[in-house]
């Protein structure tokens, strides 16, 4: 298997960054990790995951769609789309790696979202297998194996070396482009690492979380559940869960009047917000209960109903640690679960 010694990883990053933009997770001063554009000397974070998910690379929080220039009474419409540059995201965890395929199911089906596709086509996802899962992790519940992450290229770390395996054409091309820096080596030590990780996974408090009772077939039952009132009662209606979530994909389109013209942009929206999907007649979901229900019904019921049973959650656990009032999908699943 192709590998590189961990102490030489910097030279690998330098080599990649020379050809294209490279993003790696780095530690911030406050201890949280975030993706940063690689510059020589940056150290890759060892933490389990980044505070914000990796979806920003393909679906950024705000993005301009079109511009209208106004000169007196004349209006000119400007298409501002540009071909994206090639880039590499390094160190994506299995949960986030899976989230891209969920986003693809939304944005790459007809009608294809050209802005999303443009980025997707130019981005190489290099994922990294987990070794120290946290108590908030529950990716296994969604069939994700954190020791075998998806992505264009998968990587493993045995403490001394990082091993590479290309999964796609794009991935192969990428590995080829850096092959001069890699060596072929024995990957047997990885088996122990994977086994240990799996042992830990089985000890995690959420290891027994089951998705069995969710999916598209019990829509009405869940929709009408009496539990929603109690579950949503303490929700403060902020957007934290949706904004840290790697799979939340809703956006709003807004116009910004610059004084000289209009910039039409889209930005992440949150179903927790009171003006979510507000239309001319008003808002279809008028209470926080309905908005709260929407988020979880979407992930656990509507999404699998439309996508062959695939759930709209990857169990990354970000919402578990970030919700201001500690209400989250796990608590919802456990409360709604039909035993």
């Amino acid at each position: 298997m192709l590998r590189i010694a961990i102490d030489k990883i910097d030279s690998l990053f330098d080599a990649i960054a020379e050809k294209q933009t490279l993003y790696i997770p780095v530690d911030r001063e406050d201890g949280a990790a975030e993706y940063k554009k690689y510059e020589s000397g940056m150290k890759m974070s060892n933490s389990l995951n980044t505070l914000r998910s990796a979806k920003d690379f393909f679906f950024p929080q705000t993005e301009n769609l079109v511009e209208f220039k106004m000169e007196g009474k004349q209006i000119e419409v400007k298409d501002i789309r540009e071909e994206s540059e090639d880039f590499v995201i390094f160190g994506v965890r299995a949960c986030d790696a899976r989230s891209f395929s969920i986003l693809d199911k939304v944005y790459l089906v007809d009608p294809v979202d050209s802005f999303y596709k443009n980025r997707r086509d130019h981005g190489v996802v290099v994922s990294m297998a987990c070794t120290r899962p946290a108590e908030t992790c529950f990716c296994s519940a969604f069939g994700i194996d954190p020791t075998a992450p998806e992505g264009d290229v998968s990587c493993w770390n045995d403490g001394s070396y990082i091993y590479f395996e290309a999964n796609t054409e794009k991935g192969k091309a990428f590995v080829d482009s850096i092959s001069s820096l890699l060596e072929d080596g024995d990957a047997s030590s990885l088996e122990n690492v994977k086994a240990e990780t799996k042992r830990i996974l089985s000890l995690l408090p959420l290891s027994n979380l089951s998705t069995d009772s969710f999916g598209g077939d019990k829509l009405n039952e869940y929709f009408n559940s009496e539990k929603w009132a109690e579950l949503s009662e303490s929700c403060i209606g902020c957007g934290t869960c949706t904004f840290v979530c790697p799979t939340c994909q809703c956006y709003d389109i807004k116009d910004f009047n610059t004084g000289n013209g209009i910039k039409r942009f889209r930005c992440w929206d949150s179903c927790m917000y009171s003006d979510f999907t507000k239309m001319a007649h008003g808002n279809p979901r008028i209470s926080q209960l309905e908005r709260f229900r929407q988020r979880f019904m979407h992930k656990l019921v509507y999404f699998p109903a439309n996508n062959n049973g695939e759930f709209g959650c990857v169990g990354c656990g970000r919402c578990l640690s970030k919700c201001p009032i500690s209400m989250n999908i796990v608590k919802v699943m456990k409360a709604l679960e039909v035993k």
Binding site: M70, K73, S274, I286
Partner: protein, 663 residues
């Protein structure tokens, strides 16, 4: 879609000389929503206004922008024109391209560019203007006159004559003011008392007029048509209703050495006193600073001699509250203090006096019974020097910057009277300019020179030095003879500058009216609204607005009365529609707005609302009384949710202006 008309005024060359008005009209014509853009010589002229009116009708305009002089000048003119053409007057906005553009800039290119930007801002604002309708509020049919001098008296008489109740608040124990202290009046030389006292009596006898003497205004609330005023009736320790004004107490009081302010301190009065014989109300007043009974509890002579038992040592200040539709300010003037002008030896020699002191010295009711005697030795003065412009026309650091206006004439009067009564007395008047515009004024001055042989010397007195022989060495320059004079004078009379009364400034704050830097009240317009303050319902009478002689004061007093009567005649007045209003759906009921409202215009109610989640809820929401609100906008910023907004200056309008300017 808006249909906006833009009209750019040349203002003759006032604007057109520095702003390319054609280019402005052209540029603004391309703005979104503008359907017509014209320029014209004088937009405010009748034909200019017709241009606007015709365009409104012809193009069915939904908004009008006039690029012209300051909105403070002609906003109302154009609003009225719009209204006449059927457009809501509040759909008119003014871009100030004269005072704030053409007059301050010299470069045509940049001034034109700025004019276009100001025009754009006005267009951006008018896009968001809403038609406003003025509400109405009732008028209390009663007027308050603050100050009981000749100005206040005349105003009160005129208002009472028209059939309205009037209250006069006078801080002294009697009305009459400065005119009561004056001996003769120019240019007719008739006796001031003879023409003033009948008016004072008329005031006291007119049943519509109520005099609050020895009283002060302590608080003013409310607004035009509906002021609520608190008046402090200071304790005079004499029951006004009982005192007959017999004056016995003022003769028996053992405290004899109280400086008599009516005679400018040139003689003494008692601790209980009536300022002068013709005082109105003719009621005694006890001066608590000197009365032994009030200070030590020992005496009580006045109480013993008073046959009607009017003396009341226990009297307290009393506060009364009254409602008025209009308030007339007539607080008058005082001569300035002369301690800054020691070169004239005012504090060194009793023979250096102010003109007002001279009035008392020459007055039959004055300290010398009308015979002019030197204060120092009571001898007849043979040489008298008058010094003009003492403290007037000065650099700010040296005195008052303005001309006190009355000094030239009263000095001519004094000189003439002295020469007539004492032909052996030489009179010198040192002047810078002799200013005598006024009917029969210059003739009067010439008479002093030609008929009475008063020596008018062009020049200024530099120094007055008291000499050991009791004379005063007056050192002065005679600019025409180009020589320095030394005159041995017996008396020197200083024409001290006049200044507004000290009570005017705090009163202005209570009334929320403006004053200039000299503490004269500012009129709403220097030419077109000279007797009104900028605050609706507050009128200005007499010298509180600027230096004036008696005829001018009386004229203004009557003018102010006419304006007040015009207001009081109405049953209700139209309110300013640019007032705050609360969007009840967004209001939190937090009371922030209420706490910053200076008028108490905001109240709260519990109302039932249908909430976004289709439940009903009782919520506490603010509502604004549009008749009370004056439209300052303090509440709009105190309100965190933006529920409170201001008509005519809404958040969105101001932000649109900001955007247009910063574009």
């Amino acid at each position: 879609m808006q249909r906006i008309g833009v009209f750019v005024c040349h203002c003759g060359t006032n604007i057109a000389a520095t702003v390319d008005v054609k280019a402005v009209a052209e540029a603004l014509g391309h703005e979104p929503g503008v359907v017509i853009s014209r320029e014209y010589q004088y937009m405010c002229s009748e034909s200019g206004q017709n241009l606007v009116k015709d365009a409104i009708k012809e193009h069915n305009l939904s908004g009008v922008v006039i690029c012209s002089c300051s909105p403070r000048m002609h906003e109302n003119t154009f609003r009225k024109a719009a209204a006449a053409a059927g457009l809501n007057p509040y759909l008119v906005e003014i871009a100030n391209i004269r005072e704030q553009c053409s007059w301050i800039h010299k470069d045509i290119a940049t001034a034109t560019e700025k004019a276009v930007i100001l025009g754009r801002a006005a267009i951006a604002k008018v896009h968001l203007n809403a038609p406003l309708t003025a509400g109405e509020s009732p008028v209390v049919k009663r007027a308050l006159v603050i100050g009981g001098g000749i100005a206040g008296i005349q105003t009160a008489l005129d208002i009472a004559e028209a059939g309205f109740e009037v209250d006069i608040v006078e801080k002294e124990p009697t009305i009459g003011g400065k005119m009561a202290q004056i001996d003769k009046t120019f240019p007719t030389l008739d006796c001031a008392a003879c023409i003033l006292t009948p008016k004072m009596v008329e005031c006291s006898q007119n049943e519509k007029i109520h005099i609050h003497s020895f009283s002060e205004v302590t608080d003013v609330k409310g607004f035009v048509g509906n002021f609520s005023v608190t008046i402090k009736k200071k304790a005079r320790y004499v029951d006004e209703t009982k005192c007959t004004g017999c004056g016995l107490c003022t003769e028996k009081c053992p405290m004899k050495n109280v400086p008599n302010e009516f005679n400018m301190g040139l003689d003494n009065r008692r601790a209980v006193y009536i300022p002068f014989a013709q005082a109105v109300p003719k009621v005694a007043t006890i001066d608590p600073n000197y009365c032994m009974m009030l200070k030590t509890g020992k005496c009580g002579v006045c109480s013993k001699v008073c046959s009607v038992g009017a003396i009341d040592y226990k009297q307290q200040d009393k506060f009364i509250e009254e409602k008025y539709g209009a308030i007339v300010v007539a607080t008058g003037f005082n001569p300035i203090k002369l301690d800054k002008y020691e070169e004239f030896a005012y504090s060194q020699s009793p023979d250096v006096v102010t003109s007002l002191e001279l009035e008392r010295l020459m007055n039959a009711a004055g300290p010398n019974g009308g015979t002019l005697l030197r204060p120092s030795d009571k001898t007849h003065p043979h040489t008298i020097v008058f010094v003009q412009c003492v403290g007037s026309r000065c650099d700010d650091s040296k005195g008052k910057p303005y001309c006190s206006k009355i000094c030239c004439m009263y000095t001519a009067k004094h000189a003439m009277l002295i020469r007539e009564k004492y032909p052996d007395t030489e009179v010198y008047v040192f002047y810078i300019d002799v200013r005598t515009p006024g009917k029969n004024f210059d003739e009067f001055y010439r008479r002093a020179v030609e008929q009475y042989n008063v020596h008018y010397v062009k020049g200024m007195v530099g120094k007055v030095t008291p000499k050991s022989d009791g004379k005063l060495d007056v050192q002065a320059s005679d600019l025409l003879a180009n020589e320095q004079l030394h005159i041995d004078a017996d008396m020197v009379v200083l024409a001290a500058a006049i200044e507004p009364d000290k009570t005017a400034r705090p009163l202005a704050t209570m009334l929320t009216t403006q004053m200039d830097t000299n503490d004269f009240f500012t009129e709403a317009h220097p030419k077109l609204r000279p007797v009104e303050s900028a605050t609706a319902g507050i009128f200005l009478s007499g010298a509180c607005q600027g230096p004036k002689d008696i005829p001018e004061t009386v004229a203004q007093a009557s003018a102010a009365a006419a304006k007040a009567i015009g207001l009081l005649c109405k049953n209700s007045i139209t309110c300013n529609p640019c007032v705050a209003h609360s969007n009840e759906l967004m209001c939190n009921g937090c009371s922030s707005c209420e706490k910053v409202c200076p008028y108490g215009a905001i109240t709260y109610q519990d109302k039932e609302f249908r909430m976004p989640d289709r439940t009903t809820a009782i919520r506490r929401v603010a509502s604004v009384n549009p008749a009370v609100c004056q439209g300052c906008g303090a509440c709009t910023v105190a309100c965190p949710s933006g529920a409170m907004d201001l008509n005519g200056f809404s958040n969105s309008q101001i932000m649109a202006e900001v955007d247009a300017i910063c574009k």
